[in-house]
């Protein structure tokens, strides 16, 4: 083993004095083993550089990988928007309460008319109007009669059979009960 071998790395790194460097250079020119070592050290240095570059490249933020992700997200968002735009929202049909009237003509078959635009009907707010009507306490024209069996109101045996009571309710315009009268 040559004594110069311990200085080969420093010689490659130019860390020797000019005198030392000249001596090492002369020796390397004539020593096959030291030339092989120098080549090995250079290869190791190159590999170390490649390793450091590789580590740095591996840790660098990779923005390009976001491109397909963002493109996919954009396409999905576009598809969702298109689906919402193309979907027609049909409002549910309003079912009018059927009032059986003997003299009324039979209604014809329902004609389904597409309701594309629901007209906006501007109505005044009902609350002041209702409050005004309630204040006036106008009697209603119609009286609601409710037949209640006596068994439902009194204990068994307290009321003879066949006797019923009629309750008269007077309803105010706001829906509240104004008067209740019980009669036989």
């Amino acid at each position: 083993m040559c004594d110069v071998q311990g200085k080969l790395v420093a010689w490659l790194d130019r860390e020797l004095t000019p005198e030392e460097a000249s001596a090492v250079e002369r020796h390397v020119e004539g020593c096959h083993e030291c030339r092989r070592l120098v080549a090995t050290y250079e290869r190791v240095s190159q590999t170390l550089d490649a390793y450091c570059d590789g580590v740095m490249a591996a840790k660098a933020p990779r923005q390009t990988r976001w491109v397909p992700v963002l493109a996919g997200a954009l396409m999905a968002a576009t598809a969702v928007c298109v689906a919402f735009v193309r979907t027609r929202v049909v409002p549910p049909a309003v079912v009018e309460p059927s009032i059986p009237v003997a003299s009324a003509p039979l209604p014809g078959p329902p004609v389904a008319e597409p309701v594309l635009h629901k007209p906006t009907i501007r109505r005044p707010h009902p609350a002041p109007h209702i409050r005004e009507l309630a204040r006036q306490e106008q009697p209603m024209d119609a009286t609601i009669q409710i037949a209640i069996p006596a068994e439902a109101m009194f204990p068994p045996g307290a009321v003879p059979d066949g006797i019923n009571f009629i309750v008269d309710l007077r309803i105010a315009p706001d829906g509240s009960v104004k008067q209740v009268s019980l009669r036989q």
């Binding site: 200085k7 080969l8 790395v9 790194d13 004095t17 170390l48 570059d53 590789g54 591996a58």
Partner: protein, 189 residues
């Protein structure tokens, strides 16, 4: 081995805080610093933060009239210490980067060469891991372009010790590389 290392570049002029020279120094040292910090185990964001903190410290150092001799060594030493402080478990995190050989880019043509290059770097990383911490840090700082004197300042050891450590570490890596080369050659034969 001499203590007065041969400078790679001309001696830097006297720097002033917020000067164009500091900006030029930042441009010159940013990439080697990032590479060194990445090899120490920092993530990309952490390395960026450390570099910025380092140059903020440099601004304060220059503004306070600090010593400007061996300014590159000063910058690397500050970055090295900041990285050490930032790492909660230095050894474990250092090991993480070495296992990710599959991400190493290889500027070779064929897929076989890509695989061989990645395998070579992975084995080299494993060999680098077997070195002592001081040997590894000396080699990484040397790969960052620092002179032995600057490496000594970063790590707080003598220049002659840096030379011995680098020579010993290179010899170990060369032996491992030679063993692997001879094994691969015999396998191919």
């Amino acid at each position: 081995m001499s203590d007065d290392s041969v400078p790679l570049a001309l001696p830097l002029p006297r720097l002033a805080a917020d000067s164009a020279e500091v900006a030029a120094l930042y441009r010159q040292l940013r990439k080697p610093l990032l590479r060194y910090l990445a090899c120490l185990g920092l993530t990309s964001d952490e390395a960026q933060d450390v570099v910025q903190d380092t140059f903020l410290s440099l601004q304060r150092h220059l503004a306070s009239g600090g010593d400007q001799e061996n300014i590159r060594g000063w910058v690397f030493r500050v970055a090295h210490n900041l990285a050490r402080n930032r790492q909660t478990s230095y050894q474990r995190r250092y090991g993480e980067t070495l296992d990710g050989g599959k991400d190493f880019p290889a500027e070779v043509a064929t897929p076989e060469q890509v695989v061989l290059e990645k395998e070579k770097l992975r084995r080299f990383a494993a060999a680098l891991h077997l070195l002592a911490k001081s040997e590894r840090e000396c080699l990484l700082l040397r790969a960052a372009g620092l002179r032995y004197r600057e490496i000594g300042e970063v790590l707080g050891i003598a220049t002659s010790t840096v030379g011995d450590t680098v020579a010993r570490a290179m010899k170990k890596l060369a032996e491992k590389c030679n063993v692997r080369c001879s094994r691969q050659t015999s396998r191919l034969a």
